[in-house]
Each structure stands twice: as C-alpha cells, then as structure tokens.
Amino acid sequence: MAGVLPREVLICTIARLLDGVRHVAVGASSPIPAAGAMLLRAMKEAGGTIGPRISILGSVEHNFFTNGSAELFDCAGQGRIDAFFLGGGQIDGFGNVNLVGTGDYPRSSVRWPGSFGSAYLYFVVPRVILFREEHTPRVLVEKVDFISAPGVSQDGVFRSGGPIALLTGKGLFRFDKTRPGFHLESVHPGHDLAEIRQATGFRFEHDAEPRQTALPDRATLDLLRGRVFDELAETYPEFAAQMQRDLGTVDA
C-alpha cells in the first residue's frame, strides 16, 4: 500500500500481537517494539478501555521499577509481565535464540554482547515475540551455534512462557510449540514466499499462498503518526525523527 512505511507495518503488527496484554516490557534500544506497545495503548484508550502498562528498560520516563535491575526479572517471575521481545544474532527453526556468538564457544569467532535475561525471561513470560528486522540465512539459521534460550523445553521443566511469533522485515511467523516450529502467517507488502524461503535458513510451514500482512487502517495510522510518534520521541528521539523523515518521502 502506498503511503505506509515498512516499519509502520511492523509497528502495527506488534500492536496486534500484543492485544490483550496487561503489562509489556521493552528493551532499552527497541523503538519498534516500544512503538507497537504504545500504539496498542493508544488504540485501547481511544476505544475507551485501559491499555497495557509499558515498561521500557533503561528509560527514565517509562521506568516503573524502584528495586534495581533485578526487579524486571522478579516481576516476570511473579507473572506480572505478559509480553517481552527478544532479538538474537541467530534464531533457529526450533525457536532457539543465540545472543552469545558464532563458532566454537567460548572462543567465538564473532562475539555478541551476551544472553542478557533471555535464559530466564524466555521461560516465564507468556508471550515472547522474536523480533529481528534482518531476515537473512545468517540470522535465521537451521541450528544456532549457542543456545542462550531454548524455544521449547522437555516435559517436566517449569515453563510458563516462550515464543509465540517471529517478526522480521519480510514476514510474520507463528510459533507452534507442539511441533515445534514456525508457520509463516503472512508476508509483508513488497515481499513474497520465494524470497522468504531463500532468506530463511530453517524449514517452516506455510500455506500455498500466504496472505499479506494486514495493513493499518486510517484511524490506526493517524494514532501512530500523531500521539504515538510524539510519545516515542520522548524516549527514542533519533528513531522518531528518522520516522518523520521517512514519512516525508512517501505519499502519506
């Protein structure tokens, strides 16, 4: 659709995936997930209901915690965080996430920062959304080199959370923990199944003709470009400015 930016599609998709959550936590440098959460909140409030509480880690504005950096994990352990986002240097077809590095651990040839809280949050947050804009065989691999956090656990292992979806710059996958594996749910505008196949290092299920990712309606887009971008600018000024610049280039 002319007039909708690819990142706006991502933001609106995230808002849909979060529908119904009471409290969503977002990482410090995650403007798109934060925008999705803010959009959902704006939509709920426009509809006269209460939107989700949004905790943005490392933000002063959206920091509702007062017990140090352990509180996020405590809060998740108490069942008070319904949704969280995870990226990953590698994500494989079983939903395993690698945030540590490639090659032979510990002497990784490429070292990423590390696992952060993933090895815990992936187990206890009911809706973990895997989000990575880069959709390449380098990122979406058959098998991760290091499991920071596993997509599924054996029977008998305490697990109240896990992945529900994988969102990339090309499409949206749903995670089926019973198989386990991903099902391509929709393809973003401008991309197609063949391209996604080529760009994905793991096998996934899909319909013969996957549908296109739903686009936001006018009202949603107005909320996004109005209130949400304003809110976003408080915490992610550079990202919000970039979005405004990008909007100037499309027929919005």
Binding site: S69, V100, Y105, R111, W112, G114, S115, F116, F123
Partner: protein, 268 residues
C-alpha cells in the same frame, strides 16, 4: 572513610573478585584509570548484571582473568572491542550468565545462604558451560521438576559511582538497589560520588529511603562527573560521542593504548 580514587584503588589486590555495575546504574569510571595505574591483575570481574566501557578497559589493560557477565557491550556504540578481542584470543575466561543468575548469586551472599534457586536456564548452553551451577530436582515437589541452584557470589570488592554521600559514609543509591545488593555481598565497597553533603542522609526518612548505610561502605571519594562518559541517573546524560570515540580507537590494541594514555580524564 573519606578517601580519593588513587588511594581507594589500593584496596584491589591481584586475584580479587570485583563486582561492577551495569552502565546505567552508576559506573565509577573515575576509578578505572587509578585501578589500571595500581596494576593489580588476575581480576575476576562480576558484571551486575552486564558490563561495558569499564570492563572493556580493564580487559584491554590486561588486568582481567575471568569475566562473569550476562553481556558486555558499549550499547549504541556497538561491541566491546578489547573484550571481544580477548574472547577471540582466549585471553579471558568467560563465565557467561543470565541477568537474574547474577542477581541470584549476589542475593545468596546477601542472605548468608550457600545458593539460590532460579527458574529457567534448563536446556541452555549457558548452563552446559557452568560447572558451578547445579541442577537438582525441586525437593518440595512430588518428584521431577528440575531447578538450577546458583551458588553465592561473594565479591572481594564492589566499585560504583552515585550522586552523593554524607560525611558519615552513608551513600545515596536512590532506586538503584543493585548497588546495595553488590555492597551487601562484598567484603570491601569503594564508592565515588559527585558530592559530599553535610547533613546525615539517614536523618530524614525521604533521603534515608535511598541510602546504602555506612555499615557496608569501606571508602568514599569525591569524583565530579565520575561516571563520564557514562551518564548518571538524575544528574547528567551519557556522552555518546565520547563512547563512540573510544569504540573506534579501541578497535586495535595500539589505539586502545593511545586512548588510555591521553591526559584527559575528565569530560571536555
């Protein structure tokens, strides 16, 4: 109890376990060069729960034997160059963790307990590489229910930076309670502050709520802008340009040395 950074660095002895806070909690960058000058090596760093600039510089200076952490990075400025190079060379031993495991280990020390249980972790390669973590069947369940026990982390030294302390050694940590957790768990606690205030911070309930009492504090030194180029909550933002300048310089060992040799140790 009032000291200055170079004198405080002398508390650090070779082979000690040193706890350092996450970049936004109050990193005592003012201590970094004094520690490097002091030169005690074979340090076992514990990042609470992640590390950045300070860890990278201590690694770059060759003082570090192991790094226990949930992550090391320079945030927006990218990967930690000296840390990543040391990992590739096998020059530091890694104890990769996850944030709540670090918190659990400190909490065990705070409580005087040998361990704390932690959910999650089972099936990760983190667990597979940690021979100090133990999986047991939950003794309170009817059978099965494996759970990981994290042993107490008892640092020899904890080092951090906060806005203020009073003349009695009470240190105001605000809502950054991981700093208290580090202090409770550690034998020696070294704190740099923006300013020393005259009033007793424990005398007023409002300020007392954010105080780490002197009971846990070994020494305090005044170091204005002491977190720079990191920011300090409620005081000043991070200097992203300076962190990026470091990230670029430290891509090579020589560049790192040149950067660290610069006379400038204060914000411009």
């Amino acid at each position: 109890m009032l000291s200055e950074p170079r004198a405080m660095a002398k508390h650090i002895e070779p082979g000690m376990r040193v706890a350092l806070p996450v970049d936004y909690a109050g990193v005592s960058m003012a201590m970094t060069r004094p520690i490097i000058e002091h030169g005690a090596g074979d340090l076992d760093l514990v990042c609470v729960p992640t590390g950045g600039l300070q860890v990278d510089q201590l690694v770059g200076a060759g003082l570090v034997r192991t790094v226990e952490t949930s992550a090391v990075s320079l945030g927006e400025a990218g990967g930690a160059p000296r840390f990543n190079a040391a990992v590739k060379e096998g020059a530091v031993r890694l104890k990769d963790a996850t944030c709540p495991a670090i918190h659990a280990g400190l909490m065990a020390a705070q409580k005087g307990s040998p361990f704390m249980p932690l959910r999650g972790l089972i099936g990760t390669d983190l667990l597979r590489h940690r021979d100090d973590w133990r999986v047991v069947d939950n003794p309170l369940a009817d059978g099965g229910d494996p759970i990981v026990l994290i042993p107490a982390i008892k640092p020899d030294v904890a080092i951090f930076h906060v806005p203020m302390a009073d003349r009695f050694g009470n240190v105001w940590i605000g809502r950054r309670r991981e700093l208290a957790a580090m202090a409770y768990a550690s034998r020696t606690v070294l704190v740099t502050v923006e300013r020393i205030v005259e009033e007793n911070l424990l005398a007023d309930e409002l300020s007392a709520a954010g105080v780490l009492p002197a009971l846990y504090v070994t020494a305090v030194a005044r170091a204005p802008q002491g977190a720079w180029p990191y920011g300090l909550w409620g005081e000043y933002p991070a200097d992203g340009a300076e962190i990026a300048r470091y990230a670029k310089a430290a891509r090579t060992a020589d560049g790192f040395s040149a950067y660290m040799a610069e006379a400038q140790m204060e914000p411009a």
